[in-house]
């Protein structure tokens, strides 16, 4: 599987998109859940400090967030204090485990990070510590859309970059810039994911077209799913609709654009 490092060590995977509304957080949450269900030790970090939201998908009530990623970045706590068990998404009796490091949703906290920024070394140390403490297999980074400094910082420390775009003219130009900037950051592995593709289009043909336009491998094409729209952000799609083609494809993202849930 593309997300697995050859040396068997854990992998930091950043999921990014140039524009908002590409269902980036949804994709992150689904990939994390699918890999956790396969027995991997997985954590998710919400580095979308400007507009945090992935905690909603994991049913983490903001009232229960005492410490967040923001607190860690300001030196107010260790990274381990900002970790929350969100395994409840798998059901009350399920054995799978999944943890989230959320960003603060408090306006003051958001403004402070935007104003003062944070230290990339501290962020990397935090990632490293959380990986080592739990011998993680995967650390997923949910980013803020666009190409500002914070976003570049949060993706720069990753091993794999997944860039999500929709088959929409609004996404093409910005994605082209994102791909080239990421290339300049010398990402060892970078893939595109086409999300919200019309169900009527052939996934393979679309993947080939996108791969040629960006000169970048396409990890997969996710078709539009009405069930996901209906679900809103009230749950994780792959857990609510395990039989869906999109769910199956989650952990088997392959650089050929085909989906194969058995690959790992």
């Amino acid at each position: 599987m593309i997300l697995k490092r050859e040396d068997g060590m854990s992998k930091i995977i950043a999921i990014h998109s140039f524009r908002g509304g590409t269902r980036k957080s949804n994709t992150t949450a689904n990939l994390a859940c699918l890999l956790a269900k396969k027995g991997n030790r997985v954590r998710v970090v919400d580095t979308d400090i400007q507009s945090p939201g992935i905690h909603v998908l994991f049913n983490l009530d903001p009232k229960n967030i005492t410490y967040s990623l923001n607190d860690f970045l300001w030196g107010k706590c260790g990274i381990d204090r900002a970790v929350y068990d969100v395994s409840g998404v798998f059901g009350p009796t399920a054995g799978e485990k999944l943890f989230l490091i959320p960003s603060s949703i408090r306006t003051g906290d958001i403004a402070r990070v935007l104003h003062y920024g944070y230290d990339i070394n501290l962020l990397k140390e935090g990632y490293q510590k959380t990986i080592e403490q739990l011998a993680l297999d995967y650390l997923f980074i949910d980013t803020h859309p666009g190409l500002n400094e914070e976003t570049l910082m949060s993706i720069a420390v990753s091993d794999v970059l997944l860039i999500i775009l929709r088959p929409d003219q609004q996404d093409y130009q910005g994605t082209a810039v994102t791909v080239e900037v990421s290339r300049a950051l010398e990402f060892p592995r970078m893939f595109l994911i086409v999300n919200e593709a019309p169900a009527s289009l052939s996934g393979d043909a679309l993947a080939a077209k996108v791969a040629a336009a960006y000169n970048c491998d396409v990890a997969g094409v996710l078709p539009h799913a009405d069930e996901m729209m209906t679900l809103g952000s009230s749950g994780i799609f792959c857990l609510q609709h395990p039989d869906s083609a999109s769910s199956h494809s989650g952990t088997g993202i392959s650089p050929t654009g085909s989906w194969d849930g058995s690959r790992d």
């Binding site: 070394n121 570049l152 910082m153 093409y172 052939s202 043909a205 336009a213």
Partner: protein, 139 residues
């Protein structure tokens, strides 16, 4: 009964029995031949249909090999004609989908892209970030 010389001189009831046995043999042979003809008339078209299904499965919608079966006036002919119609519609739909993808234009202004990229990557901030990222990956 000149063609049954072995029966001349046999007792009457034995002769009748032998004739009956021979008749059964003849009927069996005729029945076997009829069965073979019948089976071939049914299995050959079914084999053609199975082959046509495999062809469609492989994405080829040219079913000219099915012509002999679809010309039949029986149920197998009807089945073959329905299959041809269905394959034709699937093939048409496939072509439409392919055309939709072909018509999908991914418009990228390369000049603007290069300009936007250079505005980011040629900053001191980016160079410093790139250096740090390189070191992180060596850990």
């Amino acid at each position: 009964m000149g063609w049954l010389p072995g029966l001349i001189g046999c007792p009457e009831d034995r002769r009748i029995g032998t004739v009956r046995e021979f008749g059964i043999l003849q009927m069996s042979l005729v029945g076997a031949c009829a069965a073979i003809v019948f089976v071939r008339k049914v299995t050959d078209p079914l084999a053609s249909l199975a082959h046509a299904a495999q062809t469609v499965e492989q994405g080829c919608y040219d079913l000219s090999g099915l012509a002999a079966v679809s010309e039949r006036g029986d149920e197998l002919g009807r089945l073959a004609r329905s299959f041809e119609q269905m394959a034709g519609k699937v093939g048409q739909r496939e072509k439409t989908l392919q055309r939709q993808v072909d018509e999908l234009k991914i418009m990228i202004d390369r000049e603007k892209q290069a300009q936007d990229v250079s505005e980011i990557v040629e900053t001191d901030y980016f160079r410093s970030l790139k250096e740090k990222a390189r070191k992180f990956r060596q850990i």
